[in-house]
Amino acid sequence: MAYRIVEKNCTGCGACEFECPNKAIKEKGGVFAIDAKKCTECAGFFDTPQCVAACPVPKTCVMAF
């Protein structure tokens, strides 16, 4: 399981990138994307997925499946 970023909603602020404990988030053409292979939904690090909690736009950082 992993999270993904809805590209058309992403403002490119990068708040998620700072918080990701897996370094799974990178900028691509002004917006950010999550590498599903690296994403652990923050299991073992935090109670809640950091990208979801930090993202300023509703319904933008969502479950990949």
Partner: protein, 493 residues
């Protein structure tokens, strides 16, 4: 590059020789004796503070006539959500905090600052104000400051923050020589804060409601105290939100002053459904110019209020009230002239002389004691330099001065463009201008057409270009003194 977009050196150093000059103690005052007492801005402040702010356009009302600032948009991320901000929204026609067109890397930002410094000798301050929060992007913010300081050590560095991350970074802010910090503080009561902030992101989780507002409030106060304890000048910005914190800002003012804030700046809520903010979409309107002034006045007294703030955008370049940001966008930075310190030195000399002359002109224009004491508001069209040098029709804002027999005092600026006044929408540009001139008795400008002049006259506002290119305060005082003699009595508020 359009010469008239920034105060050209020529407009400050020389005045149009065909215009009558206001010079000498007897100029236009009809032989009324005047005293040359001192009431300069620097006399009101401890010397150490004046030295820090005298070239800072955001902190010194006097400096904002002469010096330019620029913001570099290296900080897009934010750690809180405000109901007056929608971070998704971005529009090149916009001009307000939290909105920006071009995000920069630290290296790009340093290049841009060098390019501006080469073109704009007035540049004194580089700030990081967003478009998110400077300290939510702390590593990038500090790296940018390092690069700028290495290239241009004379440039002052400042940053703006919501305060949430502030206590974690005070040591580094001090170590880097950042001596000006702005904190946006809209409340000191979390029950009010809960109506402004839906959530914050703090210590690896999202907090909402009262809890969020309580944490934010405590962090803001802690950060403010830590900064002032280190001798760093702190300005507090408060957004005036009618119906939520308008009555509460007195408490905010007390709280921040008692913790050593140097300036308290009340800014009007900018609210428009088209901005997609919560307040905009739910019909929460911004204050009218008079409501804003009433709040500023209620805090008056010993509170040092900054009434000349323009709420510039996070990539603004120029003197307050103007924005040359688009001239220095990244794609235009291919070839830049090297920075020439001589140009700046020359400018500093000119400013020093101008400040002295302007102050003298003001003192000479002081009127003898009068019985009548109705303060009148005078709107000034200016491009900077402390002179009346803007065409009425070109003015995107007016500086409002309150004039009595005691002198002329800057009280606010009012914008006529960009966003609507008082949360109302009006496509008629003149109507917007007239709304901005509410309560004003006279408009002093460099030039004005017959039509707008007649329209203003219908509203009881006198418009004149009689004082074109003269110093602002002196002209306002002379206008006030002579207004009865010339038969141009305005109805007072």
């Amino acid at each position: 590059m359009p010469e008239n977009k920034i105060v050209p050196l020529s407009s400050i150093m020389r005045v149009d020789s065909t215009k009558p000059r206001l010079s000498g103690c007897s100029a236009k005052t009809g032989g009324k004796t005047t005293s040359c007492g001192s009431s300069a801005g620097q006399d009101d402040l401890p010397e150490a503070v004046w030295n820090k702010i005298q070239d800072h356009p955001c902190y010194s009302e006097d400096a904002h006539h002469y010096f330019a600032r620029m913001h570099v948009a290296v900080a897009p991320a934010c750690n809180i959500q405000c109901h007056y901000c929608n971070r998704k929204y971005d529009c090149s026609n916009e001009s307000r905090p939290g909105v920006v067109s071009e995000k920069l890397s630290a290296e790009q930002a340093a290049r841009k600052v060098m390019a501006v410094a080469a073109e704009v000798p007035q540049l004194s301050v580089v700030g990081i104000a967003g478009p998110g929060d400077a300290l939510a992007n702390a590593p990038k913010t500090f790296h940018t400051f390092d690069l700028i300081h290495a290239a241009l050590p004379h440039v002052k560095l400042c940053l703006s923050t919501n305060g949430l991350a502030l206590p974690d970074h005070v040591e580094q802010i001090a170590a880097m020589g950042v001596d000006h910090v702005t904190i946006t503080i809209n409340m000191v009561d979390p029950t009010i804060g809960a109506q402004i902030y839906p959530w914050i992101f703090f210590r690896h989780r999202r907090w909402e409601g009262l809890e969020a507002a309580t944490i934010l409030h405590e962090r803001q106060m802690e950060g403010l105290e830590a900064l002032t304890a280190k001798g760093i000048l702190v300005k507090v910005n408060s957004v005036l939100i009618p119906g939520i914190n308008d009555k509460h800002l007195v408490e905010v003012n007390k709280a921040v002053r008692s913790r050593g804030a140097f300036l308290h700046n009340i800014m009007p809520l900018i609210s428009d459904p088209a901005h997609g903010t919560h307040f905009g979409l739910t019909g929460r309107r911004g204050p009218t110019p008079n409501e804003l002034r009433a709040v500023q006045d209620s805090l008056g007294g010993d509170a040092k209020l900054m009434r000349h703030c323009r709420q510039c955008r996070a990539d603004a370049v120029g003197l307050l009230g103007e924005d040359r940001g688009t001239e220095f966008s990244l794609d235009r930075l291919t070839e830049t002239r090297p920075y020439d310190p001589k140009k700046r030195e020359m400018y500093l000399e000119v400013v020093s002389q101008e400040r002295t002359d302007r102050q003298k002109a003001k003192e000479m224009a002081q009127m003898p004691e009068r019985i009548e004491e109705t303060p009148l508001l005078v709107a000034i069209a200016t491009k900077g330099g402390g002179r009346i040098n803007q065409h009425f029709g070109h003015a995107t804002e007016f500086q409002i001065f309150e004039v009595t027999s005691g002198g002329a005092k800057f009280v606010s600026h009012r914008r006529t463009d960009k966003y609507c006044v008082g949360g109302t929408d009006d496509s008629d540009a003149m109507a917007t201008t007239l709304a901005a001139l509410e309560g004003v008795s006279a408009v002093l400008c460099a030039k004005i057409g017959d039509k707008p002049k007649a329209r203003l006259a219908e509203m009881g506002i006198i418009a004149t270009d009689h004082y074109a290119f003269e110093y602002i305060e002196a002209s306002a005082i002379i206008w006030y003194a002579n207004r009865n003699a010339t038969g141009s009595v305005a109805a007072s508020a």
